[in-house]
């Protein structure tokens, strides 16, 4: 009996360590695999040419990824700008001002939105956002856009990310002890002053973390964006024109055009780029969180 308990104790400890090791090894294995698969393209092109080159002509052996990287960044930043203020104030309202009844009604709705498959957001984008941009926004600015554009991608991505970021922010704001807010109120601060100086300030690291994770998720989002962004290879500053983000490049072409020499390696390189950029975003936000803690 005693020996059996010791064996179970050790086995459970071993299983937990193994599970953790598998999780930690996953991105390393994925990164290594993508790197090795993309080696052929490294051998023929410099990293500078690959990352900042704008000529995408696979049949001629030119693989410039800049249009895809620029589109990804543009769509992601646009979605970030649109979703962050909405999530921030909605989360503050729900955790600091809303009645219990409203909270009970809202939380399941947010969970449902977070659980919707991205293809549904894509379809909604095609049915609503794309025509709206084509028929309302574009004429307003005197432009002729089909609606399939970076702006459509940004809006759809923002809507998709809202429940995800909102859920994280709600959890962050809920961790601030009510006693801290009461302390501020008892000093004569108004409710908004207490929320601003105490709740937001105390939650700052968590807010940064939520935005970082939201940004990383937005950057890698594929299907919904691919359905509305136009998938046209170009570098543009006009959000009403089409773009072609990195995930869409991979999803549209993998398994389709592999007869073209180096195309396989190029797509692996695109995936590696995606992984690296998401890693960089995470590292930047980790650094911001660290800076917040030590200050």
């Amino acid at each position: 009996m005693r020996a059996g308990r010791i064996i179970i104790d050790r086995a459970s400890g071993f299983w937990m360590i193994l599970s953790l090791a598998l999780i930690l090894l996953m991105p390393v294995i994925m990164g290594m695999g993508l790197f090795l698969k993309s080696v052929p393209i490294w051998e023929q092109n410099s990293p500078w040419q690959l990352i900042f080159g704008s000529d995408w002509s696979p049949t001629r052996g030119n693989f410039g990824f800049w249009p895809f990287i620029a589109s990804s960044l543009y769509v992601t930043i646009l979605s970030f700008v649109l979703s962050v203020p909405v999530c921030f104030f909605a989360a503050l309202y729900l955790t600091q001002y809303a009645s219990e009844r409203l909270i009970r009604m809202t939380y399941p709705a947010i969970d449902i939105l977070a659980g919707l498959p991205s293809v549904i957001y894509g379809v909604w984008g095609i049915l609503v956002v794309v025509p709206f941009i084509s028929k309302v926004i574009s004429p307003f600015f005197g432009s002729n856009s089909s609606g399939y554009s970076i702006a459509a991608g940004g809006v759809v991505l923002a809507i998709m990310c809202i429940p995800y970021i909102l859920n994280m922010l709600i959890e962050v704001f809920k961790t601030v002890p009510s006693g801290m807010k009461e302390a501020s109120l008892s000093l004569g601060a108004s409710y908004w002053e207490s929320v601003k100086h105490v709740v937001v300030r105390k939650s700052f690291a968590g807010i940064v973390s939520a935005f970082g994770l939201g940004l990383a998720k937005a950057f890698g989002e594929t299907i919904a964006v691919m359905m509305v962004v136009g998938n046209h290879i170009q570098v543009t500053v006009n959000p009403l024109e089409a773009g072609y983000p990195l995930p869409a490049l991979i999803a549209n072409n993998y398994g389709e055009m592999l007869s073209i020499p180096m195309y396989d390696a190029a797509l692996m390189f695109a995936a590696l780029l995606l992984l690296a950029i998401i890693l960089i975003i995470n590292l930047i936000f980790r650094y911001l969180i660290y800076k917040t803690h030590i200050e």
């Binding site: 219990e100 801290m180 009461e182 008892s186 000093l187 601060a189 002053e193 700052f204």
Partner: protein, 272 residues
């Protein structure tokens, strides 16, 4: 309701509460009831708090002491589920009926909670926060006041070289004294202390208790505790509560030596 609305009847009601020790009440609670749904938390509380004395609200956990304290600075407003009826007169204002400038009302009462809640900012800014809320923005004046109140709670010497470091870096006893300094900096008339030593070690508790003895010269202190010995050490006036009701009140010497009710007698014997 502002002071102009006070009638002679009201004033005489307040004055009825003058304690035997000759101090007029600074706080007068009349027919106060607090409900949370069907739960009757405070049951018809009538209470007068003498000025510049330490009044101890004593009683077992969950008897409504903290709720009573929170009624006095309207922090009950934060809890949507609470329904508060009755009157709480402070400085001539019935604060439960007053709808204007709750912030100014709260500044009359410094709050010290069970565990210290330093605001997420530096030691200096913690004290300066309340000063700025009083409308003082002159840097030298703020600096002067921060030092003054940190000295008043005996914290200045310990923190003067790290004023701009985060307040959470202080020990828990220091944090509680910082919270007291922060509360004093808004120049309250009353200090509401909700079991302020419950999270502290004996040495830090003693420092806080000694501070209270000093502070009562200039402030009225309402101290919530369930520690009988602390009540004996500090109280000028004791209010014993149980299940949302005031069971007995009076001078500690009378109350603890000759409890009139079985509930207090039991509490004293269990406490010893």
């Amino acid at each position: 309701m502002n002071s102009s609305v006070i009638t002679d009847t009201n004033l005489s009601e307040i004055n009825l509460g003058i304690r035997g020790n000759g101090h007029p009440p600074i706080v007068s609670v009349k027919n106060l009831n607090v409900y949370a749904g069907n739960h009757h938390i405070l049951k018809n509380i009538n209470l007068d708090i003498p000025k510049n004395k330490i009044t101890v609200l004593l009683g077992p956990s969950g008897c409504g002491k903290t709720t009573l304290l929170k009624c006095m600075n309207r922090l009950t407003d934060l809890y949507h589920e609470l329904k508060v009826t009755g009157d709480v007169w402070i400085d001539g204002d019935n604060i439960l009926k007053s709808n204007d400038n709750i912030a100014a009302l709260r500044q009359k009462m410094g709050l010290l909670s069970q565990r210290p809640y330093p605001l997420p900012m530096s030691i200096f800014k913690n004290v300066a926060y309340g000063i700025k809320l009083k409308g003082i923005y002159d840097k030298k004046l703020i600096q002067y006041n921060v030092e003054k109140y940190l000295r008043e709670v005996g914290l200045w010497e310990e923190v003067k070289d790290r004023l701009h470091q985060p307040a959470v870096g202080l020990s828990i006893g220091q944090q509680q004294r910082l919270c007291l300094a922060r509360g004093l900096a808004v120049r309250p008339q009353i200090i509401l202390a909700d079991e302020p030593t419950s999270a502290l070690d004996p040495i830090s508790s003693k420092i806080i208790e000694n501070l209270f003895k000093e502070l009562k010269k200039n402030y009225t202190i309402i101290l919530v505790t369930h520690v009988l010995r602390q009540a004996v050490r500090l109280a000028d006036h004791v209010v014993f509560m149980s299940y949302g009701e005031i069971i007995e009140e009076g001078a500690p010497a009378d109350l603890f030596k000759n409890p009139a009710t079985e509930k207090l007698r039991e509490y004293i014997y269990d406490g010893n």
